[in-house]
């Protein structure tokens, strides 16, 4: 995977020797200068091109600008930044289903001014069989509803509610915060 065994000075050998993580900071207002590459996914073979568009909204339903929206799927990744209107457009291909999982996009959203880590969710498609998805089965119907895109004439629509009554369900994993206590 991404790491090899520690082989240099400072490498820890036991969990009691865990290194203290570098603090996370915000992206700030100028991150599009450095994280400027915006990959999209183009269809290959039988892959179906799709667009997913929507807005990033705050608790008052106002657009959130300067926000990074990224997706990951078995076929690759995409990145987009919202402007003043809070809108994003993901150009990608329909993800394939995998054992136990309905087709979905892993979606990361990180607003430039307030967040020090991305909020992570999964986006599901209304025209797929989502009933047997292992992740969705762990969620309440209300939580599931916030992760389902809408079909439109031109693709799919998915608003990301960072906060408020319709807040999107955001996901974590064991150990996410463990070494940042």
């Amino acid at each position: 995977m991404t790491t090899t065994a520690g082989d240099r000075d400072g490498a820890a050998t036991a969990s009691s020797d865990r290194l203290v993580p570098t603090p996370r900071t915000i992206l700030g207002p100028y991150f599009t200068l450095g994280m400027h590459v915006r990959p999209t996914l183009q269809p290959a073979g039988h892959q179906v091109p799709i667009t997913v568009s929507g807005r990033v909204l705050n608790a008052l339903g106002e657009p959130v600008m300067m926000t990074m929206v990224e997706t990951s799927q078995p076929e690759g990744w995409t990145r987009y930044f919202t402007g003043l209107d809070g809108a994003y457009v993901i150009t990608t291909v329909k993800p394939q289903a995998t054992p136990g999982r309905a087709p979905h996009l892993l979606l990361l959203v990180m607003s430039g001014n307030f967040m020090i880590r991305p909020a992570v969710t999964c986006l599901y498609f209304p025209d797929e069989d989502n009933d047997t998805d292992e992740l969705l089965q762990q969620l309440s119907p209300e939580q599931r509803a916030t992760m389902l895109a809408r079909r439109t004439d031109i693709g799919y629509e998915f608003d990301i509610h960072l906060a408020g009554d319709s807040e999107t369900t955001f996901l974590g994993w064991p150990g996410l915060l463990d070494d940042e206590e």
Binding site: T3, L33, F170
Partner: protein
């Protein structure tokens, strides 16, 4: 749990807060739904597109002329919290020019641009988790929300691993910078020891004699890998 890891947002300390910096409406409030790591694994090759070119890490040579300012070499090693190097990590940096001005439409600072400096660099960590950039020491700049607060000299780092969930954003500060205590972003980190981990160290071994001053900035990724056994 410290405030700044709770878990997405920053809360500004007293004295830096402004009314519009009301994180209540901007950041998630509901508890995270914790699911097994395998259900949100994102092992797609995230750096395949836009892989950095061989000179993308030399911000001194991106234009015809030489940029203004103190020329520096910045290098370091990216590890997880077990000290294991993280290789093939996309490291993207962005920074102000020597005058404290960004090449960005939103930068309101009344300072000059440097026609020979953009302030953006990209590279991949090598097999030892190491990265290197050549750049200039950026200028400090007033914080756009409060002109009495200053952003100390810093370089932003955005790191992307093979899985998108390894996304890590931090920034490198400079040792001995008197503005560190006036910096609202650094001040969101309540623990002094933790703040020090953002500060690079002067490193003569990384310097290019007569050309650059060297700085070393090692990055330890937290909260990314649940256990060593998962690799």
């Amino acid at each position: 749990m410290r405030a700044y890891t709770e878990p997405w947002w920053v809360q500004l300390p007293e004295g830096f807060s402004t009314p519009e910096f009301d994180t209540e409406i901007w950041t998630p409030r509901k508890p995270l739904v914790i699911v097994p790591s395998r259900l949100i694994d994102s092992s797609a090759p995230v750096y395949g597109y836009g892989t950095p070119g061989p000179t993308d890490n030399d911000l001194l040579s991106q234009h015809d002329g030489v940029p203004m300012g103190e020329h520096i070499t910045v290098h370091g090693r990216v590890t997880d919290s077990w000290g294991r190097p993280v290789r093939d990590m996309l490291v993207e940096i962005w920074q102000a020019n020597a005058a404290g001005k960004y090449v960005h439409d939103h930068d309101p600072t009344p300072k000059p641009h440097d026609p020979h400096f953009t302030g953006a660099g990209r590279t991949l960590t090598n097999a030892h988790g190491e990265y290197t950039f050549k750049t200039i020491k950026p200028g400090a700049y007033p914080w756009w929300r409060d002109p009495e607060a200053w952003r100390a000299q810093h370089i932003h780092f955005g790191l992307t691993g093979r899985g998108l969930t390894e996304r890590y954003v931090t920034q490198m500060q400079f040792p001995g910078d008197p503005l560190l205590s006036r910096d609202p972003v650094v001040s969101t980190i309540p623990d002094a020891k933790a703040r020090e981990r953002l500060v690079a160290e002067l490193d003569w071994e990384a310097a290019i004699p007569g050309i650059t001053v060297g700085y070393r900035f090692d990055i330890v990724l937290g909260g990314v890998h649940a256990t060593p056994a998962e690799h």
